[in-house]
């Protein structure tokens, strides 16, 4: 009965949203904007969601989520336009799509490739939405059992795993990036004793660093610097005919769709990792299990399907830990967290108690956003492609202006801008030294959670660390964190290499 009630609630919410003209206009408008944002190289879904967060400040929470999710879904999908038509991915999530998408366009199958990405993205988003609907309430009810010990370890685990999986170079760089983020979150008066930390007497820092200007600075400024400094130029886009849903090709590759969707949701649920990792892992897996792996990279439909299904399924996966634990599963989800806080919605285990209808509403909005993306993608592809002709050096200054006015508008403090620029430059310097930025952002967001819960936990246990070993979930998290750290040590690597040599050789088959 409870399940039937939830299903009824979901469909009723979808109906209410779909029959509200204002909501539908906002949804389609933000989805189209998201597709354009995603298509333009140098602009990311994270930046799009961050810039729109400011604009949604004055509207009600439901409409704000419609706008932001429309932008998120549209931008993740829109990245495939650049990948397929000019071999320059619009977003990092679409980087893997270029490997097979562009060769397809060169063969004259650009329209087919776009049709496949549109349908795959639609299916991926719907699968993500399905998992959000099923697992979010379960995770939320489990999280209600958590105490300060578990929350501290969860925050720490989020930073460690994000640093471990997003680093291009050594994993220590990802962890250092996460620790720098944690350090930045400590600036201001602490939430337990209100003692100022690292404020240097500057009263504007008493409240700490505001999340949205920090996120806009960390993601926007490095992107602008990189595009302008590297003189990114977009060549002539490949022409294409009509964009059709290509259901026949999709059904012939149903196994790839299912596998990629599951990979996308699974990776989305891991804190801070994001759509780009999901796409690459899915592509790699599809290539590995394919009967003809040598054809990958020359224009196979499977390659495009694997990437686009996974990166859109990741959206639903990333929202699960965001809503239930307050831990964003991807950088755009981190921006969504900022937006939720602005609208006085505190994500976490208490969300289902304080706002019982919220998870259902988000699921319904995600469902409608996927339909909006599907329709806009099929109908407006030829028009959206025209934006690829705009030189990056013309639209990047406008993006800078939007970053500045967006950061200022939240709080109406010029000081936010003073902070945004150095954080942006720091993020750029870190990126150029191959330090990933996602863990820094996760650190800034989870820092207060880690700090408060650690001290609260120690106050409860009177300084004893024993409860970390006595509580089962805390012990599992502690074990995983220690294993993550130990697995990077030379001793462990030598041990696993020895094991592979001993048990992996043909003598033992």
């Amino acid at each position: 009965m409870f399940i039937l009630e939830r299903i009824y609630d979901f469909y009723l919410t979808v109906f209410n949203l779909a029959t509200n003209i204002e909501t539908m206009l906002l949804l389609f408008g933000s989805t189209i904007l998201g597709i354009i944002f995603g298509a333009l190289p140098g602009l990311t879904a994270t930046l799009g969601v961050g810039l729109l967060t400011t604009l949604t400040y004055g509207i009600n929470t439901s409409e704000a989520m419609v706008v932001l999710l429309g932008m998120y879904v549209g931008a993740v999908y829109g990245g495939s336009y650049g990948s397929i038509l000019v071999n320059i991915p619009g977003t990092p999530a679409a980087a893997a799509t270029a490997l097979d998408g562009y060769p397809l366009a060169c063969k004259g199958e650009g329209g087919t490739a776009l049709g496949i990405t549109t349908t795959s993205s639609f299916i991926g988003t719907m699968v993500g939405m399905f998992f959000l609907a099923i697992f979010a309430p379960l995770v939320a009810s489990l999280a209600l059992q958590f105490t300060s010990f578990e929350f501290f370890l969860l925050a720490f685990f989020g930073i460690m795993i994000s640093g471990g999986l997003t680093g291009q170079d050594l994993v220590y760089k990802g962890w250092i990036s996460g620790m720098i983020g944690l350090f930045l979150s400590l600036i201001g008066r602490d939430h337990v004793q209100y003692f100022p930390r690292f404020t240097f007497g500057i009263t504007e820092l008493d409240g700490g660093l505001e999340i949205v200007p920090v996120l806009i600075g960390a993601f926007g400024i490095p992107q602008i610097i990189q595009v302008i400094r590297d003189k990114l130029s977009v060549g002539e886009a490949k022409t294409f005919q009509r964009v059709l849903p290509e259901w026949g090709i999709i059904f012939r590759n149903i196994k790839t769709i299912v596998r990629s969707a599951l990979i996308g949701v699974g990776i989305g649920a891991v804190p801070g990792v994001g759509e780009d990792v999901a796409a690459w892992v899915s592509y790699g897996t599809a290539k590995k299990v394919s009967k003809n792996p040598e054809n990958f990279g020359k224009g196979v439909y499977e390659g495009v399907i694997a990437c686009e299904t996974a990166n859109n399924a990741c959206i639903g996966g990333a929202i699960i830990p965001l809503l239930t634990l307050g831990i964003p599963g991807s950088p755009p989800a981190a921006m969504l967290l900022g937006a939720l806080l602005i609208h006085n919605i505190a994500p976490g285990p208490m969300l289902s108690i304080d706002h019982p209808h919220f998870i259902t509403e988000m699921t319904a909005i995600l469902c409608l956003a996927s339909f909006a993306m599907f329709i806009c993608g099929l109908v407006l592809a030829r028009q959206v492609v025209k934006v690829l002709r705009i030189p990056p050096c013309v639209f990047m200054p406008i993006v800078l202006f939007l970053c500045i006015i967006g950061s200022y508008a939240l709080g109406m403090k010029v000081f936010n801008l003073y902070l945004m620029v150095p954080i942006g430059i720091l993020a750029y310097v870190m990126q150029s030294m191959e330090y990933p930025i996602a863990p820094l952002v996760i650190g800034v967001i989870l820092g207060p959670m880690a700090d408060e819960n650690l001290r609260r936990a120690l106050m409860v246990s009177q300084g004893s660390f024993l409860p970390f070993f006595q509580r089962p979930v805390a012990m599992i998290l502690l074990f995983v964190i220690v294993w993550l750290f130990v697995s990077q040590t030379p001793v462990y690597k030598r041990f696993t290499a020895w094991l592979k040599r001993k048990y992996g050789s043909s003598d033992y088959i």
Partner: protein
């Protein structure tokens, strides 16, 4: 209760310790990989690289920093925005190293002059004569910059067209976005000077 676990410094010590440990591991790894000699070799290779990238980076940082730290807190927001937009776009849209160098020197000199005025608090004195004195000075600088661009690109049809696009793109989008923020979202702008006051007059004249 004065015990270690309620201290505000607990988390900073913990994080500082972790950063130190990981920094030491990273340092050890970098010494194994090549050490200081590799670092100096890379550094000298980078110095030999063409200065084109460095100039672009310098010009970009000049625009961003002047926009945020120099003009936004003191000058009419719309005027400061269109000035920085026209500078930013013209720097990179013309796609010529020699023009970038000349324009960035011109802009840098202008910024230094304004910085001098602001540091001597001359802007407050000048604004006593007229509340829009500094805005007028910046407007003159804006016009001078466009005239200088015009002089630099004369004889080149493609660059003249690019200059036209630059000026239009610098004025129209900020006008639309600032108007939306001011009149639709009702967000007061950082500094509302001459241009914003004119916008207010036009907006409310027909209300």
């Amino acid at each position: 209760m004065n015990v270690w676990f309620v201290s505000s410094g607990l988390m900073p010590v913990f994080i500082g310790g972790l950063i130190t440990i990981m920094g030491i591991i990273l340092c050890h790894r970098s010494i194994k990989d090549g050490g200081a000699s590799q670092f100096f070799q890379d550094f000298s290779l980078r110095k030999q690289d063409s200065s084109g990238e460095k100039l672009r980076l310098f010009a970009l940082l000049l625009v961003i920093c002047s926009y945020v730290y120099l003009f936004t807190p003191r000058i009419d927001f719309f005027l400061g925005t269109i000035l920085c937009q026209v500078v930013f776009i013209s720097f990179f849209y013309f796609d010529r190293q020699d023009l970038l160098k000349k324009l960035s020197i011109f802009y840098l000199i202008g910024c230094l002059l304004f910085l001098g005025l602001f540091m001597m608090k001359a802007d407050k004195q000048l604004n006593k004569y007229s509340p829009y004195f500094m805005d007028v000075l910046v407007l003159i600088f804006f016009i001078a910059y466009i005239v200088y661009c015009r002089v630099l690109v004369r004889g080149d049809g493609i660059l003249k067209k690019k200059l036209k696009i630059t000026v239009i793109t610098s004025i129209v989008p900020p006008l639309l976005i600032i108007s939306s923020f001011k009149y639709l979202l009702l967000i007061p702008l950082p500094v509302e000077g001459a241009f914003i006051d004119v916008m207010n007059i036009l907006r409310y004249a027909f209300h």
